[in-house]
């Protein structure tokens, strides 16, 4: 099968959906022809679909999402880009109080088919305001779906599902994933929400990981294989809805679970997954649950500092070894 990058996969999803449905349009800062998005995901789309449908905006995050909400409830399917995940903080009211709640508050009268794309993640030395992973905030907001694709295949399939859906989707990308290549079929496909993918089967320990951490978990699993430890890597692909059953099923098999996420540990994504297991599958556990996450610090700039806080293969391997 052909291989394309995560970035290209996202772009293909956007292009295909824009061709298919004239109500789909993009808006965000510098998503248009002059820049093509800070991470070049939307490059070339303005040339094909025009400046109206690939719309550069002022630096007004709150109004970008607000405008997307208004468009979504009046017949359009906006895909808004927030240039860096950290900046979603500026639009938190429009995301969490408006987009997520409109369907409910108004008694189901209207749908909000809105996608918010944004990159999270550290690793390129751009410090505290451009490196966070804040998925947990959005997971905590009922009414939103939260997608966390780790591969080009998932990125494309999930984005198409997001765009065609009837609900606001908070679509998390990761800076370090954009150049990563993977197999993506030529023919159309979708990846459903709420269905985890077993990225690697194993028998001894379950490692649940998302986004870029999936790749680190796979590297760790490979290395542990050499030491005779068989790791199952479960990628939830969407955090809301969360495929609890897939996680629990894996835990039933392995009796051990490590949860790896790039966000700050406290009250992060891994807390929720740990809590689900502690509530619903504790009897199958043969060891304490372990979380591998960033320590509770802002992301520092200097390379040695930054590397210190980002969870790595070694941390995953150590955690696995502590429980087997």
């Amino acid at each position: 099968m052909r291989k394309i990058s995560y970035r290209e996969a996202l772009r293909e999803a956007l292009r295909e959906e824009m061709r298919r449905d004239p109500t789909v349009f993009l808006l965000g800062e510098d998503v248009g022809r002059y820049w093509g998005g800070a991470f070049k995901v939307t490059e070339g789309l303005a040339e094909e679909f025009g400046d109206e449908r690939v719309r550069d905006t002022p630096i007004s995050e709150s109004a970008i999402i607000g405008a997307a909400v208004g468009a979504a409830i009046t017949g359009m399917r906006p895909v808004a880009e927030i240039m860096f995940g950290d900046l979603t903080a500026l639009a938190m009211d429009q995301i969490a109080n408006q987009a997520a709640k409109i369907h409910y508050m108004f008694g189901g009268q209207v749908k909000v088919p809105l996608v918010i794309r944004t990159p999270f993640g550290a690793g390129v030395n751009i410090a505290a305001h451009h490196s966070q992973s804040l998925e947990a905030w959005f997971m905590h907001v009922p009414g939103l779906y939260v997608a966390v694709p780790s591969t080009p295949y998932d990125a494309k399939g999930l984005l198409k599902t997001a765009i065609r859906g009837s609900n606001p989707v908070f679509f998390c990308e990761h800076k370090l994933l954009y150049p990563i290549e993977g197999e993506v079929p030529e023919e159309e496909y979708m990846v459903p929400f709420g269905i985890a993918d077993i990225k690697r089967e194993g028998a001894d320990v379950t490692v649940v990981a998302t986004l870029y951490m999936v790749h680190k978990a796979l590297n760790a699993a490979e290395e542990l294989e050499g030491e005779g430890i068989s790791v199952e890597v479960v990628d939830p692909r969407t955090l809301a809805p969360l495929d609890k059953q897939a996680i629990i099923k894996s835990v039933k098999k392995t009796g051990r679970i490590i949860i790896v996420n790039e966000d700050c540990k406290t009250a992060g994504v891994s807390a929720e997954i740990a809590a689900v297991v502690a509530e619903e599958a504790i009897d199958y556990l043969d060891a304490p649950i372990k979380r591998v996450a960033e320590p509770d610090t802002p992301i520092p700039f200097s390379p040695p500092l930054e590397q210190y806080v980002i969870p790595d293969e070694k941390a995953i391997i150590n955690a696995v070894k502590e429980v087997v």
């Binding site: 607000g66 208004g70 409830i73 009046t74 009268q109 009922p142």
Partner: protein, 321 residues
């Protein structure tokens, strides 16, 4: 106040204003009897704004509203009984009781909903305007908000966006001089919110918000401009709320003379006098209208009171579409 409209239109305007007034008086009464859960923000005194603006709108035009939204709903054509039922938390309300007074919407008439976050409806109206532009229709979107809201960041970001894209949005500032207990002069160093229009390169106009025909005319011009694709207008309507901000607020922060002065400028009283003076209507017709509206309100209350509450488990529905 000139009367170039048809008698039919004038009566319609008068009736709508009266509907809002009587409706709000009834809500206040029910509130005092402990029949309204939560809080209420009454529109009484500001009727000329919603009615003057919505009088220019088609059913397929949009509006966005605020915590003080009953008047907007009614002016845009919502059914009184379903508004009342929503306020009482009944299953027959517009939002099945999920929204309440601060979150009423009726998408069938382009009423895109009230938000209780001050200023949050402004970008949503811009989005509706953008949608209109992209779908290439000649609809317009009107956006109501208070003078207090005009100090929110969303006001700035939104009007700028509408201006650069020449979106068909009419920004209607209901300047009732206060945001809760805060007088405008303490939070704004300028007198007219409309003057902020220059920051975006769009027209800004101040109108007497207690003169329904003045509001009507200003809105008419703005709506025409918007429909022609010539972009947004900011209209500031100077008005006053008759009651306190919410619930049991006695509004002691307002000087007595000021309240009296504004009560004397009651938009309904003024419009009625005009209709009588110009012989557009005679006293008997006025009384007939009042009777009709009263009956309508009674019916709405009856409907709302007799409607059932939603079943508790319905709380779990409508989270996702």
């Amino acid at each position: 106040m000139t009367l170039t409209l048809t008698k039919e239109k004038l009566v319609e305007i008068y009736m709508k204003m009266l509907e809002i007034r009587f409706f709000e008086e009834k809500v206040f009464e029910l509130y005092a009897q402990n029949l309204v859960p939560g809080t209420i923000h009454l529109y009484a005194g500001e009727e000329a704004v919603a009615v003057g603006v919505c009088g220019n709108l088609r059913k397929d035009d949009y509006i966005t509203s605020t915590h003080r939204g009953h008047g907007h709903c009614i002016a845009k054509g919502a059914e009184l009984k379903r508004v009342m039922a929503e306020i009482l938390g009944k299953k027959t309300g517009y939002c099945k009781g999920k929204g309440g007074s601060m979150h009423i919407a009726d998408f069938s008439i382009g009423m895109l909903g009230a938000t209780a976050v001050v200023g949050a409806g402004i970008p949503i109206a811009v989005g509706a305007g953008l949608s209109i532009k992209l779908r290439d229709t000649d609809q317009v979107a009107a956006c109501f908000f208070g003078e207090g809201a005009s100090n929110q960041g969303t006001f700035h970001e939104s009007i700028n966006m509408a201006a650069i894209w020449k979106l068909p949005v009419i920004f209607v500032c209901e300047n009732n001089l206060y945001a809760m207990g805060t007088r405008q002069s303490r939070v704004m160093a300028i007198k007219n919110v409309a003057d902020r229009a220059t920051a975006y390169g769009i027209p800004g106009e101040v109108v007497d918000g207690n003169d329904v025909l003045a509001v009507y005319e200003a809105a008419q011009k703005a709506v025409e401009t918007a429909r022609k694709g010539e972009g947004p207008t900011l209209i500031e309507c100077k008005t006053y709320r008759h009651k306190g901000h919410s619930r049991i607020d006695l509004a002691k922060y307002r000087p007595k003379e000021e309240v009296e002065e504004w009560l004397a400028k009651d938009p309904i009283k003024r419009f009625k006098e005009k209709l009588l003076q110009t012989n557009t209507l005679v006293e008997a017709e006025i009384q007939q209208i009042e009777k009709e509206v009263s009956a309508e309100i009674e019916e709405a209350v009856k409907f709302a009171m007799e409607s059932p509450y939603p079943a508790p488990e319905e709380a779990s529905e409508d989270v996702y579409a």
